[in-house]
Amino acid sequence: MFEGKIKNPRYNDENKTVISFEFNHSEFGWIPSSLNVGDGCEYPERCEYIMENMDIMPYIAPEPVEPTEYERKLMGVEFQGVMCSATKEDMWGLASVKDWVKSGAVVPFKFDNGNTLVLTNENYEAFQAVWIPFRASFFQA
């Protein structure tokens, strides 16, 4: 029934719960597809055909991706539940509001990564104690 209509089946995870393959669709031609293995398979006939008639290639784990320096700066450091980025724009912005915050102003500071932290005279020192070492970590040999 599916001879010539399915090719390149491969397990999609190490637990062999999903199979990826190419399917020759009557309207769209060869298209990428996937199905769960076992009772959860939405096309049981296709799953059965693959399992009984085809050699299924092993799962290939993706290569881990190391974040770039800019990505790590943008990811930021967590303070009071907010991930605070540490780009140079953040540094300039924080320097510009420091005196204002220290004088008692409440400043909703928007970081370069889009997150906002409400800075007050009460939390400013604690924030600096977390943020400055994180920022400085990018400039240590």
């Binding site: 199979i19 990826s20 669709h25 939405e42 096309y43 974040p67 539940g81 928007k110």
Partner: protein
């Protein structure tokens, strides 16, 4: 009420169960790519295994505006066509998200 697009095989028709069916052919979903670095091209077809159901959460506006997508979503089955254009110039740790329609 059942909506059945024309030209489907009996096997495919069995998968088309109307508007309320999450996984039916013709249904749309918000999905993200399972791996980072790539963008989503409108009209391109993707294996369900390359996608994850996804959405976003945000914390209280009075606390912060942190927006995070939901990681490790469920993997859809079948084949999905992108109905969005999501460029991704941010590197391998960023996964593109958009809307898709299931075609098989």
């Amino acid at each position: 009420m059942s909506i059945t697009p024309p030209g489907l095989t009996a096997e495919q028709k069995a998968k088309v169960n109307g508007i309320g069916n999450l996984n039916g052919i013709g249904q749309t979903a918000t999905l993200c790519l399972a791996s980072g670095g790539a963008g989503i091209n409108p009209g391109q077809t993707y294996s369900g295994s390359a996608l994850r159901y996804n959405g976003a959460v945000t914390s209280s506006p009075s606390f912060s505006s942190t927006l995070r997508t939901c990681n490790n979503g469920i993997t859809p089955q079948g084949t999905w066509r992108a109905t969005c254009d999501s460029d991704n110039g941010y590197g391998g740790n960023y996964r593109a998200m958009g809307t898709f329609v299931r075609i098989d």
